[in-house]
Symmetry: C2
Subunit: 148 residues, 2 copies
C-alpha cells in the first residue's frame, strides 16, 4: 500500500526533485482508482481534493509517475491516452469493445513467447510491446445479433 509512495520518493530524490503535497495527492488519486483514466478524468478527481490544482500539474505528475514505473500510458485508438497502474500489475494486453468502449485486460505468457520467437528470427531485441484487440464484447455482440 505504501510501497508506491516510497517508489515515488526514491525517484524524486534520485532525480534531485522535490516532494510536494500536489504530487502526493495526485498519486493518491491515481492509486485509488483501478482502470484506465485520462488526464482530464484524473484532473477532475484531483480537483475534489484540491480545487486549485492545475491541469498542467496533473500532466507533469503523470509523466513523473510513468517515468518512475508506477503508471503506464495506454492508447486505445480514440486519441485519448489513458493511465493505468503498473506497479505490482503484470503486463497485459487490451481487448477493447468497439461498441461500448469497455476494456478487458488479458495476460498470457504465449504472447510474450511469440514476441520473443518472432524477434529472434529477425535479429531484433524486444524491450516491450503493446497489443490491442478490437472487437465486440459479449453484451454488444448480443445487440448486434438482435438488430439483424
Amino acid at each position: 500500500m505504501d510501497k508506491e509512495y516510497e517508489i515515488l520518493d526514491s525517484f524524486i530524490r534520485f532525480r534531485g526533485l522535490r516532494h510536494t503535497p500536489q504530487r502526493e495527492m495526485i498519486l493518491r488519486v491515481f492509486l485509488s482508482v483501478e482502470g484506465h483514466l485520462s488526464v482530464e478524468e484524473l484532473h477532475a478527481l484531483a480537483k475534489k481534493h484540491d480545487r486549485s490544482i492545475g491541469y498542467t500539474t496533473v500532466y507533469r505528475t503523470m509523466k513523473l509517475l510513468s517515468e518512475s514505473g508506477l503508471a503506464d500510458k495506454v492508447e486505445f485508438g480514440d486519441g485519448i491516452p489513458r493511465y493505468e497502474h503498473k506497479y505490482n500489475h503484470r503486463h497485459h494486453d487490451h481487448f477493447v469493445c468497439v461498441k461500448c468502449g469497455k476494456c478487458f485486460e488479458v495476460a498470457h505468457a504465449g504472447i510474450e513467447k511469440l514476441q520473443e520467437t518472432l524477434a529472434r528470427e529477425r535479429d531484433f531485441t524486444p524491450l516491450w510491446h503493446t497489443m490491442q484487440v478490437f472487437g465486440l464484447c459479449k453484451d454488444c455482440r448480443g445487440i448486434e445479433i438482435k438488430l439483424q
Copy 2:
C-alpha cells in the same frame, strides 16, 4: 494495378461522392510509395504533382482511402500517425526500433490464432488487432554494446 482505382471509384459512387482529380492524384501518390507515410509527407509528395493541393484535402482523402479499405492508419507511439497500403497486403504487426525508428513488418499466423483463443475464452468477438513490439534492431543493438 488498376484495381485500387476501381475500389475507390466504387466507394465514391456507393457513398454518393464525386470523383475528382485531387483524389485520384493523392491515391496515385500514396500507391507509388511502399512504407509508412505521415500526412505531412504525403502532402509534400502531392505538391510535386499539384502545387496548389491543400493540406486539408490530403487529410480528407486519406480518411476516405482508409474507409474504402485501401489504406491503414498506424501509430508507433511518436504521436505521428502514418498510412500504409492495405489492399493486397496481408495483416502484419510492427517491430519498431526505439533508437533509429526503423519499422519491420512481421506477419505470423500464430498471432491471429492466439488472438482467437484468448478472445474465445473471454466470450469476445475479435474484429482486428494491432501489435507493436518496441526494441532494438540489429544495428542499434550493436551500437548499444559498443558504448558500454
